[in-house]
């Protein structure tokens, strides 16, 4: 028995030495590449977006490294999975900042994640460029917090005004019960309400809910002519599907987030005719050469057309690269911040990017719909 004890202890010591020597060599590895943190929902309910973002960033890295990287040093992305959850994101970002000591993090995709990790980045002077987060609160999240996607104030107000102008008078809002859903529903409300147009109800639903029959029955009884679903593609798709099953015939309005193949897959034919805004300069039919070149390169590498997730993740990552190129070997968040604040106009694949004093951008809004199972521009 005693010998067994000694044996186990010796093995333990040997294993520890091996592990320690592994980390030692990691230190040497570090100087060979410049590492940028990336947080994406690689698994979870919105994993579709995470994968798209990763594709875009991989393309960006390929382009950057084939052009010599940053002053001859290759760039590398450290991916962390936030699972679409703020709690997991906090752990992921803490690791990137305290263990990996990255100067900048690209992400998150959803506002809840961005808002939860912004304080950590801000405190440690690490740049956070949110790719597609739209909650208005992010405007005030910090000096090191930027985003390449406009605030919901843009999307929500444009859609609210649009609905009002189209003559809809009785609206029901169904919003996902998180930072994003609650705030965009509020903005829509503010812009829709007038003497003629009223909000009959503003109901919230939980992310874990998949059965919306009760909330939809309530909506149906109020007899609205328009229903606004403010959530992500899965829940919005289920909402419109179950609404049609219940015989609700109102016009459905969606959010930009519904422009995803999964939405059409889940909602099927019930998705026909839904109208939603798109607040970005990225357009597959754009005549802009920079945008077209990106689309071609992306198509060549991945065999499918990029969408708004890919284009924004690409731009966000490219911005970090551009900033570091101009920072004369000082790879810190503060240096990146100096660049971003003073860069003027950046011509990206999502159009013109110019950060205002809060790190926000302004983009044109257009309206789209789903026709014959495809996302089409809305004809006036």
């Amino acid at each position: 028995m005693r010998y067994l004890n000694y044996f186990i202890r010796t093995v333990f010591v040997i294993i520890s030495i091996i592990l320690l020597s592994c980390t030692k060599s990691d230190e040497l590895e570090k100087t060979k590449t410049i590492k940028i943190g990336v947080i994406l929902p690689l698994t979870g309910d919105i994993a579709s977006w995470g994968k798209k973002g990763q594709n875009a960033i991989e393309l960006a890295i390929e382009k950057i490294n084939s052009n010599g990287g940053i002053n001859g040093v290759r760039i590398e992305a450290l991916y962390e999975d936030d699972k679409g959850s703020p709690q997991v994101a906090v752990n992921a970002v803490s690791k990137l900042i305290y263990t990996n000591k990255v100067p900048a993090i690209v992400g998150g995709i959803i506002s809840a994640v961005t808002l939860s990790v912004a304080p950590i980045a801000e405190k440690n002077k690490v740049i956070l460029i949110a790719t597609t987060s739209s909650a208005p609160a992010i405007t005030f999240a910090g000096d090191y917090i930027y985003r390449v996607w406009p605030s919901d104030l843009l999307e929500g107000s444009a859609l609210g005004k649009f609905a009002k102008e189209k003559g809809f008078k009785r609206a029901v809002l169904l919003h996902l019960n998180n930072d994003y859903g609650i705030s965009i529903a509020k903005i829509f409300k503010k812009n829709f309400e007038s003497i003629d147009s009223k909000i009959l109800a503003d109901e919230g639903y939980q992310e874990t809910n998949t059965d919306y029959r009760s909330i939809l029955t309530k909506a149906k009884l109020l007899n609205p002519d328009v229903i606004y679903t403010a959530g992500y593609y899965e829940d919005c798709a289920r909402l419109i599907k179950q609404a049609r099953e219940l015989g609700i015939e109102s016009q459905f309005l969606g959010v930009t987030a519904i422009e995803d193949d999964k939405y059409i897959q889940i909602a099927g034919s019930s998705a026909e005719g839904v109208i939603y805004p798109l607040a970005t300069g990225f357009d597959l039919n754009s005549k802009d050469t920079i945008i077209q070149k990106f689309i071609q390169n992306f198509r060549k590498k991945y065999n499918y057309d990029p969408g708004w997730v890919e284009s924004h993740c690409y731009d966000a990552f490219m911005l970090v690269y551009k900033a570091l190129c101009n920072s004369k070997y000082e790879i810190t968040g503060t240096k990146i911040k100096n660049y971003l604040d003073n860069m003027g106009i950046y011509h990206g694949v999502t159009g013109i990017i110019k950060f205002d004093k809060n790190g926000d951008v302004i983009k044109p809004v257009k309206f789209k719909t789903i026709q014959n199972g495809k996302f089409e521009n809305l004809e006036k």
Binding site: T43, G44, D45, A47, S48, N177, E203, G204, Y205, Q206, T208, N209, T210, D211, R213, S214, I215, T217, K218, K220, L221, E234, R238, K241, Q242, R244, E245, L246, G247, K262, Q265, I266, A267, G268, S269, S270
Partner: protein, 291 residues
Amino acid sequence: MIQLLVNSVITFGLIIIVTISFSFIYKVTKFFHFAHAVVFTSGAYFTFLFKVWLGFPLFIAIPLAVACSTILGCAMDLTVYRTLRKRKATSLVLLLASLGLNVVIQNVISMVLGDDTKSIRTGDVQVGIEIFGAYITPTQIGIIITSIVLVILTAIFLKYAKFGKAMRAVSNNPELALISGIDSERTILYTFALGSALAGIAGILVALDVDMTPTMGMNALMMGVVAMIIGGVNSITGIVFGSLLLALAQNFGVWKISSQWQDAIAFIILFLFLLIKPEGFLGKKIKKVSV
């Protein structure tokens, strides 16, 4: 109004099978088999595997999937629970083990098949049939009928079949059952088999209505546990009442209170019952007699 009633019946149909199957596993083995949630999920996902990956038609995929869920449930008992029972583990230990099983297997499903919503629905979105002003789709009608038939069959089975009586004997008094010649380990295994088969079917029914995600099991099970406790563990009629009450409360509750509280309503009812009538709707207070 009628729509709310119809919705309640649909919700009832969706939770009753999970609840009943969970309750008799609980009665016979005396611990909370949380991994029941993942057996429920596996029913749907096995169907997906057979239908979408292997291309079998639904009427072959479903029985195969139910068989696989049954095997999964039995495997859990044979490998984990039986070993723990041999070592005289307490129900707390078994509960923790079942939580662990749940997490591991759910994550295996996520890893292999992905976290996004998968569908086994055939055909397109159907507008419901209108009955007395309420809408209900043919699929939902099918779900309700299947659930009710299964409940009745299970009740008859438990009351009259030899195995049903054996189950009741083991749940009542394991030592006496053993002395009377009932192999309690075998009975427990068969209980798991039956319970898991029912859970698999329940998972498939839910997936036919609202598609599947890897986490769907825990939600359904939580509702099932609440229904079981408020209905009283000891009788199927009690559980039926409990599930009906829960379904009605959730659907009608949302009418007056904001729908964010839908899940909270279930747990508030649970609290109230635990405070006022812990043995449940139709339960009787059991008095312990010591010799």
